[in-house]
Every structure is written in structure tokens, then in C-alpha cells.
């Protein structure tokens, strides 16, 4: 699976440079660049990103609270810090990787690769859909939108999205129409329901 990266960095020079290096890698696409973390959460949802590279300085004192909130809403998101100045060790604990401002291109590439490898091995274990995921799948197959599913199941919209990502990862099927066929083939929904 390709990795979708959001870069959150105030300096255009740094953001563009980083984007250029990452975009040159086969398994990575930079899907968004933002200057401040204000709308980061929505951006992750709309661009379906799985990696956020962020300058911890942008978060200031909010650092930990903000990030733990973010991780709660997006379970599978991975945070990488871009360190442009000296950062207290404490500030860096929430991140799974750190890119330093004076890293060479090769170094950045090897860090990003190293990161995805541990990512892939972690994802290989669970394959069966959980009860919750089946409920979401059925709702998707019936043509419901994420918001409607969230309301019906009493979940946050981010949780619904995270379920949907897991469904896709486990079944190998991404599109709504494909998921509908999957649900029909597995007798999860009645074939008389017209998905449109």
C-alpha cells in the first residue's frame, strides 16, 4: 500500500524541500502541505493520510495534548517530527520517527523506508473482520455515508473512517461498489437491496 503523507511545516522552503524528497520515493505520496496544525485533523480525514510529518515547534506547549487527541481520533496515523531546531527530549516522545533539518537526502529516504517496514510487519497479523467492522461494512454497502453511520452507531466520524480503513486493508477492497459486492457474496446483506 502506498503511504500518504501530510507535511505540516510553516517554512515553505523546508516544506517544499521535504516534499520533493518524499515525492521522489516510489511508495510515498505527499497528499497535502499545511502551514499550521489548526485543520490537521480534518485534513487527515479528507486526504486519507497515514503519515503526518510535523514540526513540533508549531504545537508549542499544546504538543502532547494535541497529539494524543489526534492519535485517539486516528488510530493508524503515524507521526514523524521534523526537527528544525533543538528540541527537548520530552517533546519528541509522541513521535515514531525524527527527521533532522541537516539530514541528507539519503538519510531522509532511509528513515522513511525504515519507518514503513516496521509499519507493514505490524499490519500483517489480523485478517478477520471484527463484529464492529462488519456492522460498518453492511452500512456502507447499503449506501450510507460516514456521517450517517457515525450517528446510527453512536461513534465519532473518525472512528467510522478508521473502521473503513481496516475493512479495506483486510478485504483488499476499496470502493463502495466493491464492498457492496463483497457484502452480498458473503451474505452479509440481502441481495434484494439495491445498492444505488
Amino acid at each position: 500500500m502506498r503511504n500518504r503523507v501530510i507535511i505540516c511545516e510553516a517554512s515553505e522552503i523546508i516544506a517544499n524541500g521535504l516534499a520533493e524528497i518524499i515525492d521522489s520515493m516510489a511508495q510515498f505520496d505527499v497528499v497535502a502541505r499545511i502551514e499550521s496544525p489548526e485543520h490537521l485533523c480534518e485534513k487527515i480525514t479528507t486526504s486519507d493520510a497515514n503519515i503526518v510529518i510535523i514540526n513540533p515547534v508549531l504545537l508549542g506547549f499544546l504538543n502532547k495534548e494535541f497529539l494524543s487527541q489526534l492519535c485517539k481520533e486516528h488510530h493508524d496515523i503515524h507521526l514523524i517530527a521534523i526537527a528544525t531546531s533543538y528540541l527537548d527530549h520530552n517533546m519528541l516522545t509522541p513521535y515514531s520517527g525524527i527527521i533532522e533539518i541537516n539530514d541528507t537526502r539519503a538519510k531522509v529516504i532511509s528513515k522513511m523506508n525504515e519507518f514503513t517496514q516496521s509499519e507493514n510487519t505490524k499490519k500483517a497479523d489480523d485478517v478477520e473482520l471484527t463484529k464492529r467492522e462488519i456492522d460498518v461494512l453492511v452500512a456502507v454497502a447499503k449506501g450510507m455515508m460516514n456521517k450517517e453511520i457515525a450517528d446510527m452507531m453512536n461513534l465519532s466520524i473518525h472512528t467510522v473512517i478508521s473502521h473503513r480503513k481496516n475493512i479495506t486493508r483486510k478485504t483488499g477492497i476499496k470502493s463502495v461498489s466493491g464492498l457492496t459486492v463483497y457484502a452480498l457474496l458473503n451474505n452479509l446483506i440481502d441481495e434484494n437491496i439495491n445498492p444505488t
Binding site: 520533493e20 515525492d23 476499496k174 459486492v181 441481495e191
Partner: protein, 232 residues
Amino acid sequence: MVKKKALSKDSKLAELIAGDRRLLQLLPRFGIALGFGDRSIEEVCRMNNVSTELFLTICAIYTDNGYKPNRAEIKSIDLGGLLPYLKASHQYYLDERFPHLEEHLQRIIKASGAKYGPMLSHFYDEYKQEVMRHIKYYEEEVVFPYIEELRKGQRSNTYQINEFRHNHTNIQDTLDDMMNILLKYLPGDILPKERIEISLDIMELSDDLNRHSVIEDHILIPYVESLENALP
């Protein structure tokens, strides 16, 4: 795998193709006629009025996995032939690949009976509409005419290539879904041979479409932006 730097305009075209057979399908899209003998890539391109640089760059996208040309590389290429190339690719997908796929699929749908047939048929019809919306009603009827106007030095007030950047969805995902359904989820006794054959075709087409969108995202968009910026 042939790396970009290993592609030289002085190599023989026949050698290039022997190195990666997928490149064969690019020839008709560039209008390069067969019977090119032992001529070099540059000679064959010149004979067929094709920019050698553009030809090699697109070959590299097909042979070198993950290669995305950067803006600096694009700048030095004569891109006059890009639009005709993309149109020829579209024509190949719409007139040859998808109908071929559909022919196979219809047989599978028939053999799937009343239980599975209609859902597969419905799935394919929806996908077909998605493909038509993407290639024909959007790229061919909105984006390309806009680019042709730009090339004539006229700027449209209503459209900008930035919209394309944001709207450029991929049509491979649903195709991959179709393959997964045919291989993994449809009961095993329904036309297994045909399903293996169609899956091989789908993998090839999906890979082709993937590289096609690299061309659109990393050559076409920067090219059109430079055209936009060149106008007052």
C-alpha cells in the same frame, strides 16, 4: 527493470523493447510504426516525428517502478506530442482494453447465474460509468480542450489546471477491487480458467493506468502550469 539513466537515445529500439515487453504497447500510442529494424531510438523517433526525450521519459515511467520525473527534467522536453499521446492512450483503453475485459466478464456473469450474475453486472456497469466520467466526459471533453486553447495562447476564465490536480481521482482502485472479487470472493467453481485469464488482464491494465496517471500528474500538470504562467 530498466533504469532511467540506462535508457540512451543511441540504444537500439529493439533492444529497449527486449528489455521490457510492456514498452511494446507504447509504440502505437506514439504513432511509431513497426518495421523499425535495427535503428536507434533517436532515429526511429525522428522518423516518426516523436520527441526522443518525451519517448524516453515515458518509457522510464513504465520500466522504472516509482520513477516520477521532476519539474527540472520536464522543462527541457518538447511536450508538443504529449496530448496526442495521452489521447491515443485513452482511445486504447476505451476502444480496446475495456471492451476486451467486458467480453470476458460477460461470460463470467452469465456463468454466475441468478445469484451472483446481477451483482457483478451492476458492479461493472457502475465502474464503466466511472471510467467514462473520468476519461471521456472530464479529461477528453473539459481538460484537453482547455489545454489546446492554452497552447493557442488563449486563457479560459472558467477553468484552471489546479482543478484537475484536485479532481484527478484514480480509476485503478475499483479495477483492483474487481480482481479481488473475481479471485478471492466469487465461489471457486465458476469459470476458474476465465477468471485467471481476466485477472492477468486486469493486473496489466491496472499497472498501465497507474503509470498513465503518473504521466498526467507529473508531466501534464507541470506542463500546463507552465503554459498558464507564460500567459500574461
